[in-house]
Structure formats: C-alpha cells, structure tokens
Symmetry: C2
C-alpha cells in the first residue's frame, strides 16, 4: 500500500515533465525556462537516484530514473532553443 | 552518510525551483511554462510528502515540503501571468 503510494507519487512528479517536454518541443521556445533550475534539478535527481539505490527504495529509483531523462531533455532544449543566459 | 546524501539530493531538487521562481517573478512571463506540468507536479509532490511521513524518511519530508511551496508559487504565477491554456 505504501509502496503503491510511493509509485503513484513518483509517477506523477515524473510524468509531470512530459507536458513540459511536449510543449517546449512543439513551440521551440524555452525563454521562460530557467537554466539554473534545470542544471540544479538534473544534479539533484542524479543524487536521488544514488540515494534510492543505497536505501533500496524502488519508488525512488524508478521515479528518478525517468525524471532524469526528461529533465536532461529539457536542459538540452533550453541550451538549444535559446542562447540567453538564465 | 546516506541521510546526508538524501538531504543534499532533496536540497538540490528543491532549490532548483528557486531560480525558476525568481526568473518568472522578474519577467512576469510564464508562457513557456507548462500548466499541465505544474498541476501534475504539485499533486505528485503532495503524495511524496504523505509517503515520506508514512515511511518516516526525513529527507523526503523536508525536500517535498519546500518543493511543494515553490511549485505552488509557480502554478500561481502560471495562472496569473498568462491566460493561455498549457
């Protein structure tokens, strides 16, 4: 039950990035996205992943694995679609 | 040690939203932010918080408490600064 709650929580904070990826990919506009946010976020999610492996917590591992790939995609979009800093 | 890793991870994925809040607040522009992302994200972070309380995991509780307040702020900005859907 707790495991299911964790998996649903992880699924939501993970799939949350899908509409952002789709939107940014469609509009090719990332001006309003913060570069600092995505750099810090990718770093943090990587550490969460390591933490998940250490405490052997499946929801944390699963969620952060997918979140990391989506966050890296957005970071790539941000760096590709505009050259302004921040 | 593991606790410290979790706290650093949580701190990073949490403070990551600060540059986004500052940027959006300064530019008053949230066009490129996805409404769907912030709705799903706020919901997911709320569930993470409940999960953290159930498994008594301090890093999860601390991180998601702050992340939730920042994500709600961004959701509010998105709803205030533009009326377009998505």
């Amino acid at each position: 039950m707790t495991m299911i709650l964790g998996l649903v929580a992880g699924m939501l904070t993970t799939i949350a990035f899908i509409p952002q990826v789709v939107k940014t990919w469609k509009t090719k506009s990332a001006d309003d996205l913060s570069l600092g946010m995505y750099v810090a976020f990718c770093l943090g999610v990587s550490l969460w992943l390591i933490y998940g492996f250490i405490v052997s917590d499946l929801p944390i591992i699963a969620a952060n694995l997918v979140t990391l790939s989506l966050a890296i995609t957005l970071l790539y979009f941000k760096l590709t679609y505009n050259n302004k800093t921040r």
